[in-house]
Every structure is written in C-alpha cells, then in structure tokens.
C-alpha cells in the first residue's frame, strides 16, 4: 500500500505567495493607477489645465462613490455589465470567445418587454420572474444558434456572434415597427412600456425618488454565486472547463463536447439575456433601438479584466460601473468629456492582460516567472 506520509505531502497546498498577491491585488491596482495617470496626460495634451484635471478626478470619485446617489448610479450601471460578463466568462472558461453578448442582450431585453406588456394582468410575483425568464430563455436560444453552429459545423463563434449581433440590430428595428410591439401613437421605433407590475422594484426610492438602484443587484449577486459554484464546484463546470482547455481530451473523457458547447453558449446567452431584461425591467421600461448601449461589448472587457473568474468579474463590473457613473459627473463638473473613461478602461485592460508588458515597463516592480496572458 502507499506510504501515508508521501501521500500527505502530495496533498500539501502551496501557501498563496507573493506571485498570487501580485496577480490579484498589486497588478490591478497598478493598472488603475497607471491608466489614471495616462488619462491625465491625455487631458493635458488636449489643453485641459491642471486645476481642471484635479477637479475632474475629484468629480470622478464623487460621482462614483461620493454619495448615496453616486453609489446608486454605480450599482445601476454595474448590474448589467456583471451579468453579461459572467456569461462571457463562462464561455471563455469553456474555450468559447463569445462576442455576441450585445445581440443576446438585445433579444433578451426585447423578449422581456414583450412578455411584460402582453400579460399586464398577471400579479407582480408571477409576472416579473416570468419576464426575467423570458429574457434569459430568448438570450439562451439566440446564443445557442452560434453554439450549435460551432458544435455541428465548427463555424467559429467569433464571426458567427459578430454576425448575430448585426442581425439582432435589424431584427430589433423591425420588431419595434410592428403594430403590436410599437407604442400606440408613435411612428418611431419604440416599444410599448413595461407594466409597473413587471418592473424590478427600486430599492431606495422611498429615500429619494432619484435613487435608481433596483432589485437587479440581488440578481447579480445570485448570478455571481451560481456561476462560481457551477464552474468550480459542479460536475458540469468540470466538463465546461475540460472542454474549454482541451476538447479532444474532453471527448476522450466521455464528455459530450457538442452538448457542452451548446450548453455553455446557451448559459452565456441566458445571462446576457438576463442583463437585457434587467435593463428594460429595472431601468428603461421599454425597448428602443440600441437600448443595449454597448453593454455587451463593455462586458467583454469586464470579463477579461475579471480574468473570467466570477468574483473577479464582480469587481471588474463594479469598477466599470463606477467609472461610468463618475465619468458623467466629471463631464458635468469639469467639462471633461466622458469619453475619457473609454481610454482609461482600455488602458487598465492592457496592463492587466499583458503582464510581460508591465514588467517591461517596470522591471524593478515585478519579478515574476514567465506566465502567459490572462485567462
């Protein structure tokens, strides 16, 4: 029989060392700091004076966490980002690069609206969850198209999801012009409104009617937990990760690779669809062209930033939400265009996704062994 001591030593887990700490804490903080500095340089280069730069970063902070209202806006912006990014992260872990969150989100949101105004008579506890479900299912189905094509024909999901995004815009335009979807008395593409009993209730409107934070944050937290459990604790997650890391080995292990691909895409789509439903039920109350507002694309960045880990995604989503909410305040207070935020976001990701680059720039700060890109 085997030697007990030897077996135990094989079970010894290495204590989280400096490398992990650098990976999870230092590098992201460093990335944010450097991105902000480069952002300031950009402002300088475009003729913004120092005082204004200072004012804009103060506004950025105030607008994101400086008040209850700011926190509410940060959370409101973060919820759909996190939801959609969780789906993408699930896909990345399964080896699927799903660019299609935008389209899935649109389809899901549209379905939630349609379901909502079609059954205005149902009571809140029934209608609201059903609307969410309709959104999730529609997003899942839409994403499953790309999943199915990948599984059955090998069509690469990057291209098919980009195409499905483009198709979804047209589909939405068309749906919004249909008599039974379009709002009565309007000639422009705008859907009927979601009935109040389908809305995700606002949580703090009793304090101040302008606090928009709504029950979607619970949905978000639930989803973070569920995706973490799914990926790391469940058998299905094992199958997802195995298929993602080595599809041939997964097949060898008796995992039905095509099923896993379709399932992972569908789950990713469901989460994106949920993000869409969250937007229409919690924030917008109706569907208009482009109501997705690029959330599906920002979510790619969020998933990458969160290194496809559910908890990482949560923090990355909160950061992006904060930047968005703060950016608005920045424009109002300092007159600096909110588009600066886009630059900062991109820079943060570069520094996180290319550790080699960070070490090339700051050779004294990071002396870790070779490690590829993120993911």
């Amino acid at each position: 029989m085997s030697d007990r001591g030897a077996v135990d030593s094989l079970l010894q887990r290495a204590a989280p060392g400096r490398a992990e700490f650098e990976d999870l804490v230092i590098v992201p903080l460093f990335a944010v700091a450097v991105a902000l500095i480069l952002g300031a340089l950009t402002m300088l280069a475009t003729g913004v004076d120092m005082a204004t730069i200072g004012r804009s970063y103060v506004a950025l902070l105030q607008g994101s966490v400086g008040s209850l209202g700011a926190l509410s806006e940060t959370l409101t912006a973060a919820v759909p980002l996190v939801l959609a990014a969780l789906g993408l992260a699930l896909g990345f872990r399964t080896g699927l690069f799903n660019i299609g969150a935008e389209g899935q989100l649109l389809m899901g949101g549209l379905a939630a609206v349609i379901f909502g105004f079609s059954f205005p008579g149902l009571p809140f506890p029934v209608l609201m969850p059903l609307c969410l479900l309709a959104g999730a299912l529609t997003g899942a189905l839409y994403a499953a198209i790309a999943g199915y094509l990948r599984a059955a024909t090998g069509a690469h999901e990057v291209i098919s999801t980009i195409m499905l995004n483009l198709i979804s815009y047209r589909l939405l335009d068309w749906m919004l012009s249909l008599d039974w979807v379009q709002r009565e008395g309007r000639s422009d593409p705008v859907s009927r409104s979601v009935p109040p009993n389908a809305e995700l209730p606002r949580l703090l409107d009793w304090l101040d009617p302008n606090l928009r934070v709504h029950a979607g944050i619970f949905l978000m937290l639930l989803a973070v937990w569920a995706v973490h459990w799914l990926l790391f604790r469940s058998k299905l997650g094992f199958e997802f990760r195995a298929s993602g890391a080595n599809p041939d080995a997964a097949r060898y292990a008796g995992i039905r690779a095509s099923l896993v691909i379709v399932l992972a895409m569908a789950l990713a789509g469901a989460l994106a669809g949920l993000a869409g439903a969250n937007q229409v039920l919690g924030v917008l109350g109706r569907a208009t062209p482009g109501f997705s507002a690029g959330i599906g694309f920002d979510a790619i960045a969020v998933a990458l930033l969160g290194r496809s880990h559910p908890v990482g995604v949560l923090f990355a989503g909160l950061l992006f939400g904060a930047l968005e909410a703060g950016g608005r305040q920045m424009q109002v207070d300092a007159g600096v265009s909110i588009d600066l935020i886009g630059i900062i976001q991109a820079l943060i990701i570069v520094f996180i996704a290319a550790p080699l680059l960070v070490r090339a720039i700051f050779p004294w700060g990071f002396r870790r062994r070779d490690k590829g890109g993120a993911r």
Binding site: G63, G69, E73, T76, A77, D173, R186, S187, D188, P189, P209, N210, R212, Q279, V283, L284, G285, R286, T288, P289, G290, F291, S292, A293, G294, A325, R328, Q329, Q331, V332, G335, S337, I338, D339
Partner: protein, 316 residues
C-alpha cells in the same frame, strides 16, 4: 443661476439641432451672466442617467433637447417637482407644472422652402430624407411636400418629391442622427434618381449630404439646411445651401432662461411660428442672385398668406 443642457446623441457640435439650442444658453451666458453646463448623450439609454446626474440642486433649469428625451424628462419632472425643466420638441398633455415644452410650427417654414425648391429645380425632382420617423422630423418633410404641391398648384407644374409621402407617411430615414456617411449616401441615392435639391432632416447627418453637394457643385446639387442657418454654421460648404429651414431654438431657450430668472417660469408650451419668428427660412446668401425676383416675390406672398391664415399649411 445655472442652466444645464442634455443633448441627444447628435452631440453639442452638430452644427444644427443641439448646437442651436446650446447657442441660446450661450447667449444667456453672455448677456445675463449665468453659468452653463452640458452633458452629451452617448446612447439613447443615457437620457435618464444624464438627467439624474444633473439633479440635486446643481442646475436651476435643465434643458432636454429632443423628442426622444420626452419620457425621461417626464419621469424626472414628476419625481422632482421643484426642478425647472424645459424640453425642445415635446409638449405634454396634460401639461406638467414644472416643464415648459418648446415646439415649432416647422411645417410653415418648410412650406416656404418647398415652394422655393419647386421653383428652383431644373430636373423637376426634389429629394428629402429624415433621421428618425418622429413628428418633429416629419413635420419638416410634410411642410416641404405641401409647399411643393402648392407650387405645382399655382404654376401647373409637376415637380415631384422623392423620399417622403405625407399621405402614407413612408419615406427615407437613416434611423440615426449621427452618421454623416449615411447623409452622403442618401443624398447620392436621391441625386442618382434625378433630384437636384435635397432636404436632409437629420441634424448633423445633413453635413454628409452637403459634402456630396460641395463635391458635385451647386449647379448639380443644392442642399436645404435645417434647424440653424447652415450657411453660417457650416461656412466651408456654404455655397451649397439654397436656404435653411430655421427653428429658432436659441431664441426660445433664451426666452425660457429669462423667464426662469425673472421667476415667471410656468409649465406649458411655447410654440414657435412663422408669425412670432420662432421658425423661418434663412436668406439665400450665395444664391441671392440666382433666385428669380418673381419667385422671391411669390415667396413673400405665400409667407404673408401663411401668417394671415389665407394659405393653409396642410395637404390638399
């Protein structure tokens, strides 16, 4: 005193819609010494968030620019009854006490532009396209088409308008207010079908049409501007603008600010008409010499007719 403005997706420097309204705020800044701030909307979904971020006492009056902000403005106004709002291109029915709508009888000015264009065309074909199929856009197209009809009725001609049918309410729309490239492509399309004067009703999108006209030369294609006098706001391509259908948002916005400062602000509607100068067509500028005197005289008559009510602006 601070006045704040939230643009639609066209942006503050669109040379037409948002910029004209912002001009009113800037005028007030210059003449009344107020503070001014603006917030651009990146996407249609930003409206509500943008209004929210301007609440909390930083703005005395908030201007929301455009029909598409109607819902968001309404919601914010109801939630914040002490905040003064004013919205361009939207009138609430029933009125909201703290919102002043600014609407325009643009069809009256567009009628004149249509009449003028019908008199100026050599091919007998005119083109028009819109941004999004919403009333503040189609009212231009209606007025223009009716003006052409009126000209045809007076002169027995058969000038046609491509791109909008006031009866079926179908026509050409770019479905956005920001793609200049669409503006060029749509104008090219109409030009290929024989139009020699095009009216783009889509804010900055029309600048793309003007780029095409500038390339072809004004004897091939002329453009009719909207919102502002584009000869002035887009001087580099001034030579292509036959005229502009002006919607004097700068005047009404300024007026609203004056009222707000004076404490006479009240919810309701301000209507800009040909009569009160809220809408009009711009001078012909470079075309001053090319517009026949007879046509100019007829235009003056029509204009008087519209103001005194003897000419009804509407379908035949």
């Amino acid at each position: 005193f601070t006045a704040c403005q939230i643009t639609d997706t066209g942006g503050i420097d669109d040379n037409s819609f948002n910029q004209t309204a912002w001009q009113g705020v800037l005028d007030a800044q210059g003449q009344l010494g107020i503070d001014a701030r603006f917030l651009e909307s990146q996407a249609e979904t930003d409206y509500e968030a943008n209004i929210t971020s301007l609440l909390g006492g930083q703005c005395d009056v908030i201007f929301t620019i455009g029909f598409l902000l109607g819902d968001a403005t309404q919601a914010a106004a109801l939630a914040n009854p002490d905040q003064m709002f004013s919205i361009v291109d939207y009138a609430y029915d029933p009125a909201i006490p703290n919102v002043l709508g600014q609407v325009y009888a643009t069809d009256e000015a567009a009628f004149l532009a249509g009449y003028l264009a019908a008199g100026m065309t050599e091919t007998g074909i005119l083109g028009v396209f819109g941004g999004i199929n919403i009333p503040p856009v189609t009212i231009f197209m209606d007025g223009f088409a009716w003006g052409v009809d009126h000209y045809n009725g007076v002169h027995g001609t058969s000038v046609t308008v491509l791109g909008w049918d006031p009866d079926t309410r179908e026509g050409l729309f770019t479905n956005n207010f920001d793609s200049l490239d669409d503006g060029r492509a749509f104008a090219q399309n109409l030009y290929d079908e024989g139009a020699d004067i095009v009216l783009p009703v889509a804010g900055p999108v029309g600048l793309g049409s003007a780029a095409l006209a500038a390339e072809l030369g004004p004897d091939e294609l002329m453009i009719i501007g909207v919102d502002a006098d584009l000869y002035l706001t887009d001087p580099e391509r001034g030579q292509v603008y036959l005229t502009s259908i002006m919607k004097r948002m700068d005047a009404t916005v300024f007026q609203v600010i004056e009222q707000a400062i004076a404490g006479t602000f009240e919810g309701g509607v301000i209507v800009g008409t040909l009569e009160n100068g809220g809408v009009d067509i711009a001078p012909f500028h470079d075309f001053e010499g090319s517009v026949p005197a007879a046509l100019a005289e007829e235009l003056a008559t029509v204009r008087a007719g519209i103001i005194d009510g003897s000419i009804a602006v509407g379908g035949m």
